[in-house]
């Protein structure tokens, strides 16, 4: 276990939940959301085992970089898509509308973890090392 593990495990849990809750849904935006979430799932499947091998030290940035990039960049596209889906199913209610709060809360949780990871990565590796990996919007106030 290293400084990323608990956060990644939480994201893993949230991602599973998103996939489970959206499974029966048919909305075109859900198709997009599930596509990005599946990619995050796959990235986590690579990332989580790496945490075990790097238990006592900082994870090797080069090893985790490609997977973290996929998780962050997918979140960048799926967050606005999720918000669009919320508007869509509120304008045209269907059974999916009942899941709005749950899905929103799962996304909030993913975001929180990604913010935490961003701050920890900055502490451990320095801002320059993560400049092209973590979008600046996850890094708190930047002046």
């Amino acid at each position: 276990m290293n400084f990323l593990t608990t956060h990644l495990e939480q994201i893993s849990h949230d991602v599973n939940q998103i996939l489970e809750k959206t499974e029966p849904m048919k909305h075109p935006l859900i198709e997009l959301i599930r596509y990005t979430t599946h990619e995050q799932r796959e990235a986590l499947d690579h990332l989580l085992p790496l945490q075990e091998s790097d238990q006592h030290s900082n994870p090797d940035l080069d090893k985790i970089r490609p997977y973290l990039a996929i998780i962050y960049q997918n979140n960048e596209v799926s967050e606005p898509t999720m918000r669009a889906w919320v508007r869509a199913v509120e304008w045209m209610p269907s059974f999916e509308t009942e899941y709005v709060e749950e899905i929103e809360s799962l996304y909030r949780s993913v975001r929180e973890q990604l913010n935490n990871i961003a701050d920890l990565m900055k502490q451990h590796y320095g801002e320059a090392a993560i400049k092209y990996l973590i979008p600046s919007f996850y890094l708190g106030v930047q002046v």
Partner: protein, 808 residues
């Protein structure tokens, strides 16, 4: 060249001879017609076409001819305005306005960070303005939130080109339109949006019988009426059509295999994506008969030259970028690119939206640099003499994401330059609510609808009152000379930006002022250095040369001193990772790929074929909202009419909004011609007269989006949904669901009231009265009968524009 000779269109209102004619370029649409501005007594009094300019040879369209009236409009803003504590806008000095802006900007950065500042600019300003916005925004304020209304009109052009070819820059030019055998106008109603280009196409067609014209549009537009083949598809099915056509090309052996093998990558995944898209399946989704699809496939498969243009019907529709990429795929499959008469020509909407993309005022970094490539950021840091670590990186955020960020309290300062988002943004009520919460600067010559959310308004110079360059849809850089001084109290966009940079004390890493230039021409000279070695290299241009040459297409440098009419004639594409403008995005989700993912593709100078997966429109008609709604433009107006409504001729031609309804739908609801109806969507409603006919297909209504006053209840963007394309983040204005509601009152027939008498009471014709009540003859009206009377019937004739006034 298509034009056989010149024809000088002129519109001058002057007592006696004008004092001088000043060289310029039309500032309305992306065609970029050359013109001269008439000046008398230091006032702009007219315009005439530039007979030497190859784009128009003197011709001007109605909007071009009438654009100068706005300059003399009595309601020009002549002083800054500041919103006072009572919520009223009141006149202020420049000193007060700029001091307030600077205080607020500094406070916003101190409290919320650099990304709390968003600059939202335009496609109507000049390249020099955009470059300066890029420099101030990225190197001065360090914000990553630079966007523009080009997001609404041309973002898809950029992102489809990045996907397929590695960099922005539309491959074909108008010269190719002149010699092509086949022209596909895909969601491009050129007859209304780019009248001079349409005239150019149709004159050749009349003269030579070429090109064969395919029009793809759900409406029977003026453009579609002149087509050899009109593919009238259902809304939101562009990709289903293109997948069907690509399937036919592969099935029937029309693929240029040696071109594909040598110059492209990705064939297998692309082909797999269209494998199931048989003409039958494509027909089922698009509603286009199979024989028409086969015919289109045969024409595209057999033609030896083809240009495909795209505009808002593609860019503002579902699957926007994927549709444009599918078009690029088709050209690559057939090897129809880089040769005379060949290539995709993805258009732009506004006159200089392409310049904003090129100069980096929106989207990626200046001169097509990749914000995810550390080497490109280093280059920019060296060029700007700033520390690379201070430059923001990563993929951009579109305006709709910025609105999300405003709602979340992350953006607190919004600088709106030369655009009117309160009319042009989809679901505008939401945008208004968001912007009302934060500090908003509006830079505009007029008090537009966006003034409602402004805290400070800065009055700016219009076309003719400032100097600079623009880039049109086919990479031509044109110059616009200053004809007159702006009215007293008014400054140019560039002057305001430079003043802001100065007051903010923006410095380079040596403590020198970040912005070292003070005139547009000096700015252009700096910009040329930034463009050096990049796809848009402009090192071979000067202001004087641009005027002498009547525009030059980039790249213009030592290798191409007279510009480049067509890209990729050597079949080398800018897809090397170290040079490309983008590492591309996942074609379905829009996720930006990393450097390593891109390198793994091994494009290395080859174009990229992408799989094109169809995703149905986000909103579709249902029981409550059973009709499709689409929005668009009229020949007589431009965007939110800030300029065109101030031109008497244009305003008279089309003063009001309306809704186009198919005659069968109107008959089913007994709606009469001109009857004011309410169109309601899940977002809001408007009340507009009905224009009944066959221009729209059954089940679809069309509303022009120009009419956006808060009071008029005619704004199309009360209805539209704020969904966006995953790659280009361009809103999908073209597809929403709605219903038509009749607005009727009851009339109980008393005594011997005749049909004539009743109709007269309500200013209606007898015919309309009968139609509204589904009655066959006046004698069907009985005493005591309850009749329905439309609350209002307004004739909304929109006169046709006849482009070909003379033979060229």
């Amino acid at each position: 060249m298509s034009w056989q000779d010149e024809r000088i269109d002129m519109n001058v209102y002057s007592q006696g001879e004008v004092d001088r004619w000043v060289y310029s370029t039309c500032n309305i649409c992306s065609v970029g017609c050359g013109c001269h501005v008439a000046v008398k007594d230091n006032q702009i009094v007219g315009i005439k076409g530039n007979g030497n300019h190859p784009i128009n040879r003197g011709r001007l369209g109605p909007k071009g001819e009438n654009q100068w009236y706005a300059n003399n409009s009595p309601d020009r803003l002549l002083t800054p305005l500041i919103r006072n504590h009572a919520g009223q806008l009141e006149p202020a000095s420049w000193e007060e306005a700029m001091a307030l802006i600077v205080t607020k900007a500094k406070a916003s950065i101190a409290k919320q960070g650099s990304n709390s500042i968003a600059i939202y600019s335009t496609g109507q300003a000049y390249l020099e303005d955009y470059y300066t916005i890029a420099k101030i925004g990225r190197a001065g304020l360090h914000t990553h939130l630079l966007d523009a209304n080009t997001r609404l009109c041309t973002a898809t052009t950029e992102f489809c080109l990045l996907q397929s070819f590695g960099a922005d820059g539309t491959p074909a030019s108008f010269d190719d339109v002149d010699v092509t055998d086949t022209l596909m106008l895909f969601g491009h109603n050129v007859a209304e949006t780019g009248t001079v280009l349409h005239e150019r196409i149709m004159q050749r067609k009349e003269r030579e019988g070429h090109p064969y014209i395919i029009v793809v549009d759900p409406r029977l537009t003026l453009t579609a009426r002149n087509a050899d083949l009109h593919l009238q598809l259902r809304p939101g099915t562009n990709v289903a059509l293109l997948n069907g056509l690509t399937h036919i090309l592969i099935r029937d052996g029309y693929v240029d295999q040696s071109f594909v093998d040598q110059y492209t990558i990705g064939y297998d995944q692309m082909a797999a994506a269209v494998q199931d898209w048989t003409p039958e399946r494509s027909s089922e989704v698009t509603g286009i008969p199979v024989d028409q699809l086969e015919e289109a496939g045969r024409v595209i498969g057999q033609t030896t030259s083809m240009v495909t243009t795209t505009l808002q019907g593609t860019f503002q529709s579902a699957d926007a970028t994927t549709a444009c990429v599918a078009i690029n795929n088709m050209h690559l499959l057939r090897g129809l690119i880089g040769k005379p008469g060949c290539g995709p020509l993805h258009m732009a909407g506004q006159p200089s939206s392409s310049a904003n993309r090129t100069a980096g005022g929106v989207g990626t970094y200046p001169a097509q640099r990749n914000p995810m490539n550390p080497q490109h950021i280093e280059e920019m840091a060296t060029l700007w003499n700033v520390e690379p670590d201070t430059l923001p990186t990563g993929p951009e955020k579109g305006i709709e994401e910025q609105i999300d960020m405003i709602e979340e309290g992350k953006v607190t300062f919004f600088w709106n330059i030369g655009t009117n988002p309160m009319v042009s943004l989809p679901n505008r009520r939401r945008a208004r609510k968001a912007l009302e919460k934060i500090f908003v600067v509006v830079q505009d010559p007029f008090l537009t609808e966006t003034a409602k959310v402004a805290d400070v308004i800065l009055p700016v110079a219009l076309w003719g009152e400032k100097e600079g360059t623009m880039e049109n849809a086919d990479r031509t850089i044109n110059i616009l000379r200053k004809a007159v001084e702006p009215p007293q109290g008014v400054k140019s966009d560039l002057q305001i930006l430079l003043d802001f940079a100065d007051r903010m004390e923006l410095k380079d890493k040596d403590g020198q002022p970040l912005i070292g230039y003070s005139t547009p021409e000096e700015c252009f000279e700096e910009w040329k250095t930034v463009s050096s070695g990049r796809p848009c290299d402009m090192t071979g241009m000067t202001y004087d040369k641009l005027e002498q040459s009547n525009g030059l297409r980039w790249p213009t440098n030592d290798q191409h001193p007279e510009g480049t009419p067509r890209l990729y004639s050597d079949y080398k594409f800018p897809t090397h990772a170290d040079y490309a403008q983008s590492y591309t995005k996942d074609q379905f989700s829009g996720r930006p790929l990393s450097h390593d993912e891109f390198v793994k593709k091994e494009a290395n100078g080859r174009a990229i074929l992408h799989p094109t997966r169809y995703l149905a429109p986000t909103e579709q008609p249902n029981q409550d909202y059973p009709m499709w709604l689409t929005t668009g433009r009229l020949v007589w107006h431009w965007h939110t009419r800030t300029k065109t409504a101030r031109a008497p001729h244009l305003q008279m031609a089309a003063p009001n909004g309306y809704v186009e309804i198919h005659e069968d739908d109107a008959a089913a609801m007994s709606i009469v011609q001109g009857e004011v109806v309410r169109i309601r969507s899940p977002r809001g409603w408007i009340e507009v007269p009905a224009r009944i006919g066959k221009a729209v297909q059954k089940g679809l209504v069309f509303v022009p989006f120009h009419y956006g006053s808060w009071e008029g209840n005619q704004a199309a963007n009360e209805l539209t949904a704020d969904f966006t394309d995953p790659l280009s983040k361009q809103p999908t204005f073209k597809q929403a669901a709605c219903r038509i509601e009749k607005l009727r009152k009851e009339h109980i027939v008393i005594g011997e009231e005749s049909a004539e008498y009743i109709a007269e009471q309500y200013n209606m014709t007898v015919e309309h009265l009968l139609q509204a009540n589904r009655l066959n003859t006046p004698y069907d009206i009985q005493m005591g009968q309850s009749l329905e009377v439309p609350i209002s019937v307004l004739n909304t004739p929109v006169p046709p524009y006849i482009p070909q006034r003379g033979r060229a």
